[in-house]
Symmetry: C2
Subunit: 303 residues, 2 copies
């Protein structure tokens, strides 16, 4: 079951030339999860031919407009396009009331059910779990209450070594149990260890979304060993005082978190509109964490 | 003082391929007036190189998202770009409260003053007047409370006929009064009629913005003889039942209003996303009103 991340917006605060506002779409087998929803997210979804009805959950990091102001329009469009299936929206306290006020203003009764789940707390919490994946929230440090999110795909079944099974005449009735991790015991009571029968377990697919935050080392504990870490990098180090003042990070700081957390890959984004060319963000991050890529509208990453 | 209208969005309800949501920008000598503000309006302003700080007034017709959901982002961007000068926002009752709730949610204190003016009433009312122009509101008939707006440029000073002034030795001290419409009386008490001294008065530049509305004949009285009438045409006549149900108009109905009102030019827009090619809207309107043009993103009209 492939998992694909699409970058819909990489601009911070203000839209910039060819850069849209924050939104990431994660697709897994017909489910889509949307992380943040800056103004224009519905246009980006349309541009990149993403089915909006596939979105089952939206995770809002915080209430600054560049992460939120596309939400009312997306909810409306789902309504106008006759959505039936429920939508769950995760975010800090207060979202439900404001969204309901907006629709009350226009006397619109949204046709499909929306469940609002309040995210809170000062540690990492599992907020969603099903047989395909789990999602966790954890607090970031920004000028207002802000949360990061981490997606973790459920373990795949193990792959059986065909040659081993054949040589040892393991009966087919045992296959499901073995794929689930059990040892095989033959009729004579001989035990065959699961690790000998199956291929080595693959790494669990995971992705963390960290926007917006000032640099703080504890964050590394919450995104430890994640497959793909998205960490905001609003500024370059030459503007690190701005980063500190505005509670944002630099590319170097994002790379330091990636390094400390031992993640596999780092994705940068949320670039301030003051930078027309963002290639320096990669250059600045590389000495601290080599496997770094720059977010770009339309970029798709297979996890 | 030239007056220019720029069309920023022509799509109804949902964004369509190459069609954005409702917004018209009227520019007059460094003042800009924005009529409606669908999601993405700030991107369109940027795309067409319009200075957002020039916008002094925003007129919201009603609270459906395709006319409103760009407003929070535009207000935020003005704030982030250090706007100082005041902004006045006209619209139905309830706008101030919702906008304030949105910024209270993100603990943002907008740096520049915003004045909200409630538009109401069931007839045409002058809501703004200065030495350059006036703006009127009038009720439309839609599924929720909705207003149209009419802009009227102040009369220009009259142009003096140079040859007449020379032949009759009219002293220069009289010029301002004559340009303002007064007759000239010479030292002997002879009266020279203003109409003989000045060029014929030009038509007053005017523009009316009518979106969204079902067809109703009284509207023609409120936009009588206007220079440019923008009238929504969400549907073609083949879908006139949809128009009636959803309280919208067809291209034919828009043209009938233009005809009845004796306007100079009709501009169509707010096309339903169901139509990929909108050229039939012009064809449908022409037999009822010949001087019709189709709205298109980026179209600029000198009034």
């Amino acid at each position: 079951m492939p998992v694909k991340l699409s970058i819909l917006g990489t601009s911070a605060a203000l839209p910039a030339k060819n850069r849209n506002l924050s939104a990431h779409l994660l697709e897994i087998d017909g489910h889509s999860l949307l992380f943040d929803c800056g103004e224009g997210t519905q246009f980006q979804l349309k541009k990149y031919k993403k089915k909006i009805h596939n979105i089952s959950c939206i995770f809002i990091s915080h209430f600054h407009g560049d992460h939120l102001f596309g939400l009312p329009g997306l909810i409306s469009s789902m309504h106008l396009l006759d959505r039936v299936k429920p939508l769950t929206i995760y975010g800090p306290e207060g979202l439900e009331q404001i969204i309901k006020s907006i629709y009350s203003l226009s006397k619109t009764k949204i046709k499909y059910p929306i469940e609002f789940v309040v995210v809170s707390g000062n540690t990492k919490v599992k907020i969603l779990e099903n047989k395909y994946f789990s999602v966790y929230s954890f607090p970031l440090k920004h000028s207002i209450e802000t949360y990061g999110y981490m997606f973790e795909k459920a373990k795949d079944l193990l792959n059986i070594k065909k040659q081993f099974v054949k040589s040892n005449k393991i009966p087919v009735e045992w296959f499901v149990k073995i794929k689930q991790g059990e040892d095989y015991i033959d009729d004579l009571g001989n035990v065959f260890k699961n690790k000998d029968i199956t291929e080595p377990e693959k790494d669990i697919i995971s992705y963390a979304y960290c926007s917006d935050t000032v640099y703080f080392e504890d964050l590394a504990n919450w995104v430890k060993n994640v497959g793909l870490l998205y960490h905001e990098s609003t500024f370059l180090n030459e503007n690190k005082e701005d980063a500190k003042d505005k509670k944002h990070s630099t590319a170097q700081q994002a790379a330091m978190i990636a390094n400390k957390a031992g993640v596999k890959k780092l994705l940068l984004g949320h670039f301030s509109s003051r930078y027309t060319d963002v290639s320096d963000f990669e250059k600045e991050a590389k000495p601290y964490f080599d496997n770094v890529i720059l977010g770009k509208e339309g970029l798709e990453i297979n996890l």
